[in-house]
């Protein structure tokens, strides 16, 4: 069986790539994409968890959690895309750095 630490390492690296994507990119669309990446990174751990804990009892919590996370990620992206459209209609650009009317 693959040692747990590898899985953890993969997931954490994917997660940090997602975070980097969210922080670095200025375009809203790419932020949504990297968000999606972060959620997928998490999903790997859930699957790994259910796999490693299935020895004693049939532990399928992880897989159910995977389905749940995917659906919620999808709904999130749907709302996100609607906001992208409304932003483009108003600002004609997707650069979120220009969105700083709300400031102290």
């Amino acid at each position: 069986m693959i040692p747990v630490s590898w899985i953890l390492f993969l997931s954490l690296s994917l997660f940090s790539i997602g975070i980097f994507g969210v922080l670095a990119r200025r375009n809203l669309l790419f932020i949504l994409i990297s968000l999606e990446l972060m959620l997928n990174a998490v999903v790997i751990l859930f699957i790994a968890g259910s796999r490693y804990h299935s020895s004693s009892i049939a532990n399928s919590d992880g897989q159910i959690m995977y389905l749940l996370v995917l659906t919620l990620a999808a709904s999130e992206i749907a709302v996100g895309l609607s906001l992208v459209i409304s932003m483009y209609r108003q600002h004609h650009h997707l650069d979120i750095d220009k969105l700083n009317k709300l400031r102290d």
Binding site: L45, M65, L72, V79, M87, Q90, K101
Partner: protein
């Protein structure tokens, strides 16, 4: 089917009815009526369930505390609902969808409050967050609302990602996602010991974002300013209440206090959010941003309660005294906050202190209510806010948390300054007479103000009735 689910069902059916009503006829009154009925029924059902026996399942746990919290939640939502109709009239958008999202976010809150398992918690969290995004970005053509909506969406998505990562690591460690399982660590320990702490930190990041505690507090001021007024009210009360309850449950059930790191993180975050929250509000002119900063500070005070749990010793011979304090503080703070927001709803065109100046001399009743609420937020005696702060100080002193208490004193002194600035603005002699003619206090607004004054001052002077009620619950 467990009887405790009924209030959530009623709210869900309410939302569905509104959906169906949307297909046939678009009338704001009908939507208002349906949501009112469903909330009222849910409230009555919740009242009826108060003295039911508690039952816990894998996903949900229904005991006295959760039923009281959901009762409190429904009451707050009910109070906000009361002013929804008049307020929505001023919006030139479709009105009915607002009620739909309103009910959905309440449903999300109810689920989260009763959740005992990461999946149910996550479902409730996402339901509430997404419906909030809809509520925030409700006014399609308002640039500020759009911007706030985008910010909230991205940030809450990141926060849920962090929470999920923490949950995943815990699941990897313990093999089970339910909160109660965190207590007894099973034999198969896959990850090294410190992995738990990393998981907790991930979860804390997500939760602290939702509670707008210091390191992740930057969004709250922009949201309150940008979002429509009632949405900010919901944000300030509903989302923070339910997230805090989950944080409380995680910390108590998981007994995370045994780790010294968690205690340090909690106390640093508490002290800094008290201090920075109040410092930010010092010279703030915009009313809503002022309330946002004061909510940062108040949740900093509330965090002290989490620090108290460390020894279950019975302080002052009262069982789980700390929980009572937490509940009392939540009740006090949220009622005051709802009061403040209902006042803001009654004075729509007033956004900054200068516009507010001189209100006392033309509309005395609104001004008095706002003054009393400000005094309650500042913690001046004979108000509910003071009583809550007094209980907090009593608990903290009985466990000798001197550093945190010192921070509490300093930050509440700083805080007193900007609450006083609001009162000062109210009593400034107005320049032109006709400044506040556009405000007309109609019947139910007046009755709402009287109810709020009764709650804040009545319970402030005679808190024993409220604290006894809470004592029975946690008893």
């Amino acid at each position: 089917m467990n009887v405790h689910f009924y209030p959530s069902f009623i709210v869900m059916f309410g939302a569905l009815f509104i959906l169906i009503q949307l297909c046939f006829v678009r009338s704001q009154f009908l939507a208002y009526f349906i949501s009112g009925i469903s909330l009222l029924l849910a409230l009555l059902m919740q009242l009826f369930l108060q003295n039911q026996t508690s039952s816990t399942e894998t996903l949900f746990t229904f005991n006295a505390q959760t039923s009281f919290i959901s009762l409190l939640l429904l009451m707050i939502v009910g109070l906000i609902w009361a002013q929804l109709y008049n307020w929505l009239k001023t919006l030139n958008e479709h009105k009915e969808e607002y009620y739909l999202l309103f009910l959905l976010s309440t449903l999300g809150g109810l689920i989260m409050v009763a959740s005992n398992h990461f999946s149910s918690f996550f479902m409730g969290l996402e339901l509430m967050s997404l419906s909030f995004v809809g509520l925030i970005a409700y006014c399609g053509h308002d640039k500020k609302a759009q911007e706030a909506g985008i910010k909230y969406l991205i940030l809450s998505a990141i926060a849920s990602a962090f929470i999920l990562m923490g949950a995943a690591i815990l699941y990897l460690q313990f093999g089970s996602l339910s909160f109660t399982a965190l207590l007894h660590i099973t034999s198969t320990q896959l990850l090294p010991a410190w992995a738990i702490l990393c998981a907790i930190i991930f979860i804390f990041t997500g939760l602290f974002f939702k509670l707008s505690l210091v390191p992740c507090h930057l969004w709250v001021a922009d949201l309150f300013e940008g979002a429509p007024l009632v949405t900010s009210a919901m944000l300030a009360t509903l989302s923070k209440l339910s997230v805090f309850i989950v944080l409380w449950r995680l910390v108590t059930l998981g007994n995370w206090q045994q780790y010294q790191l968690i205690i340090d993180v909690l106390s640093i975050v508490a002290v800094s959010s008290m201090f920075i929250g109040n410092c930010l509000g010092l010279l703030q002119k915009n009313l809503l941003r002022l309330i946002a900063y004061s909510s940062i500070a108040h949740f900093g005070y509330l965090l002290i309660v989490l620090l108290l749990i460390n020894n279950h010793s019975m302080t002052f011979s009262i069982q789980n005294f700390n929980e009572q304090i937490m509940l009392f503080y939540l009740v006090a703070y949220l009622f005051t906050l709802v009061g403040v927001f209902s006042i803001f709803i009654q004075i729509p065109k007033i956004k900054t202190l200068d516009e507010l100046s001189g209100l006392f001399w033309q509309k005395p009743f609104i001004a008095i209510t706002l003054m009393l609420l400000m005094l309650s937020l500042a913690g001046i005696p004979l108000t509910l806010g003071f009583m809550a702060k007094f209980y907090l100080v009593m608990a903290a002193v009985s466990q000798q948390l001197w550093l945190v208490l010192a921070a509490l004193v300093i930050s509440s002194i700083i805080g007193m300054f900007y609450y006083l600035r609001v009162i000062m603005a109210l009593i400034k002699t107005p320049t032109d007479k006709a400044k506040f003619n556009h405000i007309n206090v109609d019947g139910n607004a007046l009755s709402l103000n009287i109810l709020i004054i009764f709650l804040v001052i009545g319970f402030g002077i005679f808190p024993s009735s409220l604290s006894q009620f809470i004592q029975q619950i946690t008893g």
